[in-house]
């Protein structure tokens, strides 16, 4: 066995010795593994089927996004952020545009804010649908995948009609939106809002009371609220542990203060609660979209921003509630056309750190369930 620096953490002495003395063994999972949702390598230390410890090895998808940012103008960097969390590209764009707007002291006009909210919430639903399908598939339920992908398709069609792209949308610009909504946009969105609730019922029928699903998720990967806060875990994972905290309410941005919605929470902090929280979040997102599309104001979609953007010297941190948790941008401007430093605070990266706490003492099969329930996107973990 060659020396692997990542094994040092697992306190395993001589592998052959421990192997004979006990049932402890080390298993390598990934980086090419269908249940890791990308290229994630997890080294597991097991005692029989029980997990004694884990070590994540990440960085296989590292593209140096933060370095690229320092060498592009503010506008040129905008499409790059879509490539981080590629299943929720609209949220990434919203966070970045709002951070730069804050730095430049511009405010997007109300109509643009509404378009932003509609698209971001649609993207939240799409992201949760993708999560549900793949998470259920990992655990062994194949059908939900077909259902969720069928319904996610409709959202992607709206994106495609709006801006020409389905995944890496680049939907927003600094100062507002590039495109006015297309003819029939509002009707498409309204149709979708009416179309989805029975479909969510359908997903729930397949899973919520399904004996196998409940057995595989209840009390699996439990994490307490205190642990979540200490580990910086945010998003649905934090809320499933009983903390009613959502940046859309706590530190509102865009047009969110104008809408009624609730923050769903769980009590147990297990995989089942996280599932319930995300299902409820989809319904809340629909509620926001319905209000937004009914009240969407007329007017310009772009604020007055100079062609060459030179934000004043200073620093700003702005974060939004992405589908996966707190997505933050810390931008330092030196007064030139290129940002001096852009730091992305990725929710997936920070949430993944909780994996070890969540799987210790659980069975090896539960590791798959926990990776799924954390809802990580490796493009965002590695950036």
């Amino acid at each position: 066995m060659t020396k692997d620096p990542y094994l040092s953490n697992l306190e395993l002495g001589q592998p052959d010795k421990t192997f004979l003395d006990s049932n402890e063994l080390i298993i390598n999972m990934g980086p090419q593994h269908p249940a890791t949702h990308g290229v994630l390598r997890v080294i597991l230390k097991l005692d029989g089927e029980k997990v004694l410890g884990t070590e994540c090895v990440i960085g296989y998808l590292h593209r140096g996004v933060e370095k690229i940012a320092e060498n592009r103008t503010y506008t040129m960097f905008n499409p790059y952020v879509d490539r981080m969390d590629y299943v929720a590209a609209v949220s990434n764009g919203l966070g970045y545009c709002e951070a730069v707007e804050k730095l430049m002291n511009v405010q997007a006009p109300p109509r643009a804010q509404y378009i932003r909210v509609i698209l971001t919430e649609l993207n939240r639903i799409a992201s949760h649908q993708l999560w549900l399908g793949t998470h259920a598939l990992d655990i062994g339920a194949m059908t939900p995948l077909f259902y969720t992908f069928r319904d996610r398709e409709e959202i992607l069609k709206i994106f495609e009609k709006y801006c020409g792209a389905r995944l890496t949308t680049h939907a927003f610009r600094i100062g507002g939106c590039q495109y006015e909504t297309y003819e029939g946009f509002e009707q498409d969105v309204k149709n979708y809002v009416n179309f989805l609730p029975p479909k969510i019922d359908e997903y729930e029928e397949l899973l919520t009371t399904n004996r196998i699903w409940v057995e595989r998720t209840r009390n699996v990967g439990k994490i307490s609220a205190a642990d979540c806060k200490a580990l910086g875990v945010t998003g649905p994972v934090l809320r499933a542990s009983g903390v009613k905290w959502d940046i859309r309410k706590a530190l509102p941005y865009a047009a969110y203060p104008e809408f009624d919605f609730e923050i769903p929470t769980g009590t147990n902090g297990d995989t089942y609660d996280r599932y319930m929280v995300r299902m409820a979040e989809m319904r809340q997102a629909l509620r926001i979209i319905r209000q937004a599309v009914e009240r969407i104001p007329e007017g310009p979609i772009m604020a007055k921003v100079p062609k060459v953007m030179k934000p004043p010297v200073g620093e700003v941190y702005h974060s939004i509630e992405a589908p996966k948790g707190e997505l933050g941008y810390f931008i330092v401007s030196d007064g030139s056309t290129q940002p001096y430093r852009v730091r992305v605070r990725p929710p997936s990266f920070v949430n993944l750190q909780a994996l070890d706490v969540m799987v210790r003492g659980q069975l090896v099969a539960d590791v798959i369930a926990v990776i799924g329930t954390l809802d990580i996107v490796l493009g965002e973990v590695d950036r």
Binding site: E66, E315, R343, Q353
Partner: protein, 159 residues
């Protein structure tokens, strides 16, 4: 809070200000670690949102270390900043906020800043054995560790 800190640490608190509605503190590196502890324990900043660094090569103290903290109890965000020189180590905050474990590893990976007492300080995003720290300003955007690429990937260049 600021007056309390100023009373206790005097000129160690170099700046306490608000820019664009965001509060920040600039601290002397000698007291920074202690103040972080105080913020966690007495001011209820129980969530460390982010830790990062910024490189200013022309300065004597080349690096800004930036913590972004949040308090659930007061619904407040705070940025804490301190400056350290190249090669200088800073005490780890892993025992204050466990989340800084990976964040400090990333800062080490990208800037080469050492955190004293970190349980497992090694590269996180780049491969082990990589030379150089990419987010330093003197590291070019297309620069890469050719030797590592040759040995590990068996190709002349990754570009």
């Amino acid at each position: 809070m600021v007056t309390k800190l100023k009373r206790q640490y005097g000129s160690g608190v170099r700046e306490a200000n608000t820019y664009l509605g965001q509060n920040y503190l600039v601290l002397e590196p000698s007291i920074a670690h202690e103040v972080l502890q105080v913020l966690r324990e007495q001011e209820e900043f129980e969530y460390c949102v982010d830790l990062t660094a910024v490189h200013y090569p022309q300065r004597e103290k080349q690096f800004d270390l930036v913590w972004i903290l949040y308090s659930f109890a007061h619904n407040q965000r705070l940025r804490v900043k301190t400056m350290i020189a190249d090669g200088e180590a800073f005490p780890t905050s892993v025992e204050i906020w466990p989340t800084t474990n990976w964040l400090e590893r990333e800062v080490y990976d990208m800037f080469g800043i050492h955190f004293e007492g970190h349980p497992d300080l090694k590269r996180i995003l780049l491969p082990d054995g990589w030379k150089g720290y990419p987010l330093r300003k003197d590291y070019g955007i297309i620069q890469q560790d050719q030797e590592w690429v040759r040995i590990n990937l068996g190709i002349e260049s990754g570009q």
